[in-house]
């Protein structure tokens, strides 16, 4: 008895909510509405992106599925445009919504200045609203200027640094572009977690010869040593591969704890790369105990040969 009344109450709540949705949706019909598909709010990245859309006056109706609710996904089909952030995982959702609800999608990325700006531009351009587009340009200008100012001290330190990148999906090419924004050269990039279209984009960014098909630990290290890279940028699984070999590292995958997307995120990424590359611990860790003999073993011997 008690159980039934409980369910009854829940159903009533749903009815009321449905009325609310109708009201909200009718309100939103004529405005500029989008969904973010494949944005998972890693380490709070979404919260750096939403304010940008708010500023330019685009209404993000549903996030699929970072910081989202069941409720907001149920009215996702009322949006006019889908922005597909992680192309590899959720392309089917975007295609399905295009077929079923005739909502077009654009593949975008929020890593790096250029990617973020063009994502905002794409979204604004879609609505063919001159006022919106003008405002977007203004905001992009302001954000870029601000970001470049914040980045200047880091870029100075990162000039000429080299990185080996191994990540998957949208990140594989968008991170390369973000690193370019910071003045870092990508000397090799692992691709076995990327889709074919991702690989094409990577090729156009760094050239085919820098693509790393075999991403065994040994091969990653080879790539780092042979190109004299300063840092490995990869997922958490490879963190201790780098640390054990005393190579600076930042974690770029979904398990990480620092948001790197959007304009603010790029500044954080630059800060973290500077922090790890310039950390005094590498010098300390490479030195043997002041009484011990020099031991060269394992992968370090590979390095000794190369250098």
């Amino acid at each position: 008895m008690q159980g039934r009344s409980c369910w009854g109450g829940l159903a009533g709540l749903c009815d009321r909510d449905r009325e609310n949705f109708k009201f909200q949706i009718s309100n939103l019909k004529d405005t500029h509405t989008i969904n973010l598909i494949g944005e998972y709010n890693i380490a709070g990245e979404l919260w750096d992106i939403l304010p940008l859309f708010e500023k330019i006056g685009i209404n993000v109706l549903s996030k699929i599925t970072g910081d989202s609710t069941f409720k907001e996904i149920t009215y996702a089909h009322h949006a006019r445009l889908n922005l597909l952030v992680c192309g590899r995982a959720l392309i089917n959702v975007a295609r399905g919504m295009e077929e079923r609800y005739v909502i077009p999608f654009r593949e975008v990325s929020f890593y790096g200045i250029r990617n973020t700006s063009s994502a905002l531009r794409d979204a604004a351009g879609f609505f063919e609203d001159m006022v919106l587009m003008k405002r977007t340009e203004e905001i992009i200008n302001e954000e870029e200027r601000n970001t470049k100012r914040l980045l200047s001290s880091y870029i100075e330190k990162l000039k000429g640094k080299k990185a080996v990148v191994y990540t998957g999906g949208v990140k594989s090419w968008s991170i390369i572009s973000a690193l370019k924004d910071l003045g870092i050269e990508v000397t090799a990039c692992g691709v076995n977690k990327s889709s074919l279209s991702d690989i094409e984009k990577i090729k156009s960014l760094i050239g085919e010869e820098r693509i790393l098909k075999d991403v065994s630990p040994k091969n990653i290290l080879e790539a780092i040593y042979s190109t004299n890279a300063d840092i490995l940028i990869a997922g958490g699984r490879n963190q201790y591969l780098a640390y054990k070999e005393r190579i600076p590292f930042i974690d770029i995958n979904q398990e990480r704890h620092t948001p790197y997307s959007g304009y603010k995120g790029l500044v954080r990424m630059a800060e973290d790369i500077v922090k790890t590359i310039y950390s005094p611990v590498w010098e300390i860790a490479k030195k043997n105990a002041p009484w011990g003999s020099v031991k060269v073993s394992g992968y370090q011997s590979v390095r000794a040969k190369k250098v």
Binding site: I250, K275, S279, V281, I284, A289, P290, W291, G292
Partner: protein, 413 residues
């Protein structure tokens, strides 16, 4: 170091009385008791602080002089108190500590106790002058050790594997035990003055005002026969020099072994005097420390830390923080210090390291506090905390890193 002092007024002083430091040193000597020649309040509050920090019964009594003896001289009170203490507790040593109240009058404690000692057997009596105007906790501690070394140590034929360790006041019972362990792996027999790891480690199983264990008087006497002295901390150098001048024992003045390079230095000295290799265990802990430093470096880099600590431990911790790429925004030695000044400078810090008196500052500013130094009265286990040597440094590093981990998502970037 630039001295930062906003005003002449001390609002939340970092400095702790040197008399308390001297009493703290006495706690590591078997059967010893400290006696403040002071008003009741001096002893009472000092004893409260020592007891809260050590969480053990503390051997500290006072002569409880009132206004007349304070002005006219407290000879009779001192004599009476010494007689009482000897009868009641039968201590092996009484450290009579001159506090600011008695010292400023110029009380001739030395004269009283040297003339009086003749009538008391089996109890050493030492006069330790530790008025507030001589410095802080560390100075008082060092002064007590100097007096003990000066008066009790006897010479004799050298014992080749015996070594003197003079730890400074910042080393906890846990630290001292670790240092002793490391030294024993080199086949040496350490005599530690004073050995809080035996007396203030919680191993006392029945109530006693006196430390039931610790450095024995006979051991102190035998310190003159050791083959080397390690003084740990700047303040302990002078006591080591006394041993060097008197008995020709070579002195190795070391800094506090906190952080990799300071710990390396300590081990290197041991290798130098013994000619032996390091043990597997030491090598292993060194590797673990280096590994921990690499693992935590990104989290630590650029973190701003404010240190409100005493001289020796301040140098050790700030050196270690700099090795980790951290930013030491202000450090406070006890001479200059007022925690209020630290508060003014700590607004954009990520971490405050100071004693328990930093709690309110931490709360007001919303910055996490790592408790270290003296006194720590709102945490358990402080006397056994290990933060020295490779193992201890790793503990300290992880303590800091975990605070930053906790704080990560509300990071003020």
């Amino acid at each position: 170091m630039e001295i930062y002092k906003k005003s002449g007024l001390s609002v939340n002083p970092l400095k702790t009385s040197p008399a308390l430091g001297a009493a703290y040193a006495i706690q590591g000597i078997k059967g010893a008791i400290a006696l403040f020649h002071a008003a009741p309040g001096c002893t009472f509050l000092g004893k409260v602080l020592l007891t809260q920090h050590l969480r053990e019964p503390v051997g500290l009594l006072g002569t409880d002089i009132k206004e007349m003896p304070t002005i006219m001289g407290g000879w009779d009170e001192l004599k009476k108190r010494i007689t009482d203490v000897c009868e009641k507790f039968k201590p092996s040593l009484i450290g009579v500590i001159g506090t600011a109240l008695s010292e400023i009058r110029g009380e001739d404690i030395e004269n009283i106790i040297t003339n009086y000692e003749l009538r008391i057997t089996n109890c050493k009596m030492l006069y330790i002058s530790a008025p507030d105007y001589m410095g802080g906790f560390g100075e008082g501690y060092a002064k007590a050790i100097e007096v003990i070394v000066e008066n009790l140590v006897e010479g004799g034929t050298a014992i080749s594997n015996q070594i003197n360790i003079l730890p400074c006041e910042s080393l906890t019972a846990g630290d001292i035990e670790e240092i002793k362990d490391i030294i024993s792996t080199f086949g040496l027999k350490p005599i530690v003055l004073s050995d809080l790891s035996l007396s203030m480690d919680g191993s006392k199983e029945r109530f006693s005002n006196l430390p039931l264990d610790g450095t024995a008087i006979d051991e102190i006497k035998a310190m003159g026969r050791s083959s080397a002295t390690f003084s740990i901390g700047e303040g302990m150098k002078r006591a080591g020099e006394i041993l060097k001048d008197r008995f020709g024992i070579p002195l190795y003045p070391l800094s506090l072994p906190i952080g990799l390079s300071a710990s390396d230095n300590f081990i290197r000295c041991l290798i130098e005097i013994t000619g032996k290799k390091t043990s597997e265990r030491i090598e292993r802990w060194r590797k673990r420390l280096v590994d921990g430093m690499v693992d935590t470096h990104l989290l630590m880099a650029g973190k701003r830390v404010t240190l409100g600590l005493d001289g020796d431990i301040l140098a050790g911790v700030s050196g270690f923080c700099l090795d980790m790429g951290m930013d030491v925004i202000s450090d406070f030695g006890f001479r200059i210090s007022d925690l209020e000044d630290m508060e003014d400078m700590a607004h954009d810090a990520d971490l405050i390291i100071t004693n328990s008196h930093g709690k309110e500052i931490s709360e007001r500013l919303g910055i996490p506090l790592l408790r270290m130094g003296f006194p720590v009265f709102d945490r358990f286990g402080e006397p056994l905390k290990l933060r020295a040597g490779y193992r201890g440094s790793l503990n300290l590093l992880f303590e800091m890193a975990n605070i930053f981990y906790e704080d990560r998502f509300c990071n003020k970037r």
